[in-house]
Assembly symmetry: C2
Homo-oligomer: 206 residues x 2
């Protein structure tokens, strides 16, 4: 299963890049999701990461399609309030386009529109959405059954609840503060990975 780590917008350029450089070897994708940072700060983040050996292919730019286009970063992630998938695809057929979805219907529509993968959540209760009920594991399973493109689950995922996501053909998980705001991001990530491996092993022996 893929692991996506998403920046939480709460760290300085220095703090954030230090943490990502520390963990990039063990993640599949790193989403730069910095809603309140300026373009020049985002470009600084990208530049520090590339200069410290983080491969471009692991970087995903959230919402700022222009940053991805100008700096030839091959992955963008579109929140629901961003550009229509079709328009982005027409402009750049080679871009890997992810899309956040919050319902089965939206998932089906976004697959049809040409998304390369879907990010669905939030699955479990999470501090980042304290007033919104989690959408639950059943909905993730329903979406995984209904679309052919990869589905990544997000929201409140910690090692302890990863077993609940087993057996549903999920392609990966995404975490935000659990890793990026952790005192020990590398350790947090290793525990997630361990839990994922255990689940996969159990699935394979069933």
């Amino acid at each position: 299963m893929e692991i996506h780590v998403i920046s939480d917008g709460k760290q300085t350029v220095c703090e954030l890049t230090k943490r990502i450089v520390m963990i990039h070897d063990e993640v599949d994708y790193i989403h730069i999701r910095e809603k309140t940072k300026s373009v020049s700060e985002i470009l600084e983040i990208v530049s520090i990461l590339l200069n410290n050996g983080v491969p471009k292919s692991k970087l995903v730019i959230n919402d700022r399609l222009d940053v991805a286009l100008l700096h030839e970063i091959p992955n963008v992630h579109l929140p629901g309030h961003s550009f229509p998938i079709e328009k982005v695809r027409r402009m750049n057929p080679d871009l890997r386009i992810g899309r956040s979805v919050h319902s089965l219907q939206e998932a089906i529509e976004c697959e049809k529109a040409g998304a390369d993968y879907l990010l669905f959540g939030h699955v479990f209760p999470t501090n980042s959405k304290p007033n919104l009920a989690p959408r639950g594991v059943q909905q993730v399973a329903g979406i995984c059954q209904s679309v052919r493109i990869p589905v990544i689950a997000i929201g409140g995922i910690i090692p302890n609840n990863i077993p609940k996501l087993s057996g549903m053909n999920l392609s990966g998980i995404a975490v935000m503060s659990y890793v990026i705001a952790s005192d020990n991001p590398k350790n947090a990530l290793q525990e997630l990975r361990l839990s994922l491996v255990e689940v996969r092993n159990r699935e394979n022996t069933v």
Copy 2:
């Protein structure tokens, strides 16, 4: 002299578009500068304006280069914390690229980098920058003398202080809340235009 009207980021999509539709006939450029609105809200603004007869050629997209590229809007305005001018120019040679500057040196550098025009300010005291001393008329005059590309002045410009900007080869003025937050935007704009015409007539008779 050109008149640029810049959105102030404080109005709803409905309020803002209503005001722009009301005044677009009498301005040269309308800057969509909406730092906290989502891409889909900005696209909605653009779409409403175009559907109501505002010409694309008058629209200037602030910072969101991707919105301009995807919707073929020919003008972008780059704040100092946005993309480097050269990179944007290389990506799209036909785009009209404006740049905000705050000093003579920055103005010279941005002309060299390929900006099509400069926006310099703030010239007069303004409520939008209450803790920052205005840069004054002398600096505007110095920049107008030192660069060949058009210079647009911004910051606290009202009909009464427009005469202070005469005789310096300024290409235009930009206003934000004075027009866009006015109870009567059309009237506010007409008073600005009147003052500009008076100044121009006086210059021509000297």
